[in-house]
């Protein structure tokens, strides 16, 4: 590590409050403004403030039940905040949709792989164009020759890649991922992480990844947000060059901080 990086790391280490990432004049992708979400009288999210810039890769981490999925569902428009507001950047007419991917691939078992990807173009493209776009995106996730198969013959990782293709085929500006790799074995996970990073780098969408794997978060994200008891407990930039190496000391440093935050309960 150079002296400069060490200083940089120190300064991050001192920060437990919000870190403003150098914005480089980038547009806002979305912004949570004092968002609260309650189910009945149970407050799941409380006063969330979160600005995410276009093209950023944000990872969200937190203990089970802390409200991560709720946050993503708000972002994807599947739920409405109880109070506060969610603003999407660049609200123009050709606003690209926000897509969400879940831990389960949610493929239609009765539609072939290609037809499942076609679903991602509902209301976006018609006719021949649909099939061509689907085949193109399937090629990008490495499943070019599987478009005529039934989902039931694919492995878990392949199904999740089909779900990724379906989410991306309509060129969303925001992709929300709710523990999409949670059900995969360790080796498939690493492959999928690389695929996800490669596609994110080439397509330049804003990615919001919920994960319970701290190593995954620091190796993929520009920024890690830790949620605890419905609030943002830590907002940490990960200024590490890509391609990143798994388990490198630099990443380990950030991993440590996040784990401390998660388990030490609010370091001073």
């Amino acid at each position: 590590m150079t002296a400069a990086t060490i200083t940089a790391l120190r300064s991050f280490a001192d920060t437990t409050a919000r870190v403003t990432v150098p914005s480089r004049e980038r547009k806002l992708a979305f912004s949570f403004r004092n968002v609260t979400k309650q189910f009945g009288d149970k407050t799941v999210l409380q006063g969330i403030d979160l600005d995410v810039h276009d093209g950023q890769f944000v990872a969200i981490i937190g203990k089970s039940g802390c409200g991560k999925s709720t946050l993503l569902r708000l972002l994807a428009g599947l739920d409405k905040p109880t109070s506060g507001e969610l603003v999407h950047g660049a609200e123009t007419k050709d606003q690209k949709p926000t897509r969400i991917m879940f831990q389960e691939p949610r493929l239609l078992p009765w539609a072939r792989v290609g037809a499942n990807v076609d679903v991602g173009l509902t209301g976006i493209a018609k006719g021949r164009e649909v099939r061509q776009k689907s085949l193109d995106i399937l090629a990008e996730v490495g499943l070019a020759d599987r478009s005529e198969e039934w989902p039931s013959v694919l492995s878990g990782g392949q199904r999740q890649r089909v779900a990724l293709a379906r989410a991306l085929v309509g060129h969303p500006s925001i992709l929300a991922l709710d523990e999409p790799l949670g059900a995969l074995d360790a080796l498939t996970r690493i492959e999928m992480q690389q695929l996800l990073e490669r596609i994110w780098l080439s397509k330049k969408f804003t990615a919001v990844l919920v994960t319970h794997d701290v190593a995954e978060a620091v190796s993929l994200a520009d920024r890690v947000v830790v949620i605890d008891s419905g609030r943002i407990a830590l907002d940490l930039a990960i200024p590490v060059e890509r391609p990143r190496r798994h388990a490198s000391p630099e990443l380990a440093f950030f991993e440590r901080q996040i784990l401390d935050q998660l388990y030490k309960q609010k370091a001073p």
């Binding site: 239609l108 509902t122 013959v153």
Partner: protein
């Protein structure tokens, strides 16, 4: 090649036992072990079949019975399917009708025969009504269960991707309910024949059941046995047809792959 032979061999093995039974039955009849008044020999049933076939009586009765079965099936099936869909998709419709339907379901439809005869006499409507009523319930219940059993996560996925209500129905809900609907269909086909046999035996002036009852009056036991066999055959045929349709439309289902 050898695999083809193997598969023929496998399906042939199922026919071995019936064939042996038939041969045994024939031998026992000829040896006088089974009285012809109790059970006629297979050859006697065969010749009755031939005689009735030549006279055209058999085909005419099969035609009439099949027509009755199918028209009752179409009426009862359509209403059951329609109501199953409506109640699966709309809580209002379900709240309005489901309790009533469940109450009526507790009446065995064949118990209505005396009432139905009073209403319709022994006309076609009586048979149509009974078959339709019998077919209605399995189709209704399995359509409803099928729709209620569709994975809500898939429905949510369809919504997220902006499917309209009709797209959601055609691409997610109906295909998801189909396996259950087929269970209802096959069950309904069984009930369809059963109801028709009973109805024709009790009140009819044509059809297979009527043919069997007439034969009973004239002690033509070979014709009686023949009618029973033909019912069995028609039932088997209907089931095979339903299985074929099922296989065709559920190709995606792991249970129907590489089978």
């Amino acid at each position: 090649m050898s695999r083809a032979l193997q598969s023929i061999g496998r399906s042939a093995i199922g026919w071995l036992l019936p064939a042996l039974l038939l041969v045994g039955w024939e031998i026992a009849s000829r040896a006088g072990l089974i009285s012809a008044n109790v059970l006629p020999a297979p050859s006697a049933v065969g010749s009755a079949f031939w005689k009735l076939l030549l006279s055209g009586e058999l085909l005419e009765n099969i035609r009439i019975s099949t027509l009755r079965a199918l028209s009752g099936f179409v009426v009862g099936g359509a209403i059951g399917f329609g109501l199953g869909l409506a109640n699966g998709l709309s809580a209002l419709s379900r709240g309005l009708t489901d309790t009533t339907i469940q109450m009526i379901r507790n009446i065995p439809h064949l118990a209505l025969i005396p009432l139905v005869i009073l209403w319709f006499g022994i006309d076609e409507e009586a048979k149509l009504f009974l078959v339709a009523l019998g077919v209605f319930f399995p189709i209704y219940i399995n359509t409803l269960l099928g729709i209620q059993g569709v994975d809500p996560q898939l429905v949510e996925m369809g919504r997220i991707y902006g499917m309209s209500r009709s797209q959601l129905f055609v691409r997610v809900i109906l295909p998801g309910a189909l396996p259950s609907i087929f269970v209802g269909l096959r069950y309904a086909l069984g009930i369809m024949w059963l109801t028709l046999i009973v109805a024709e035996t009790i009140s009819a002036s044509s059809g297979l059941g009527y043919m069997a009852m007439q034969a009973r009056e004239f002690l033509l036991i070979d014709v009686v046995v023949l009618s029973i066999l033909i019912y069995a055959l028609l039932g088997k045929l209907a089931d095979a047809l339903a299985r074929y349709l099922e296989r065709l439309s559920l190709q995606w289902h792991p249970a129907f792959q590489n089978a």
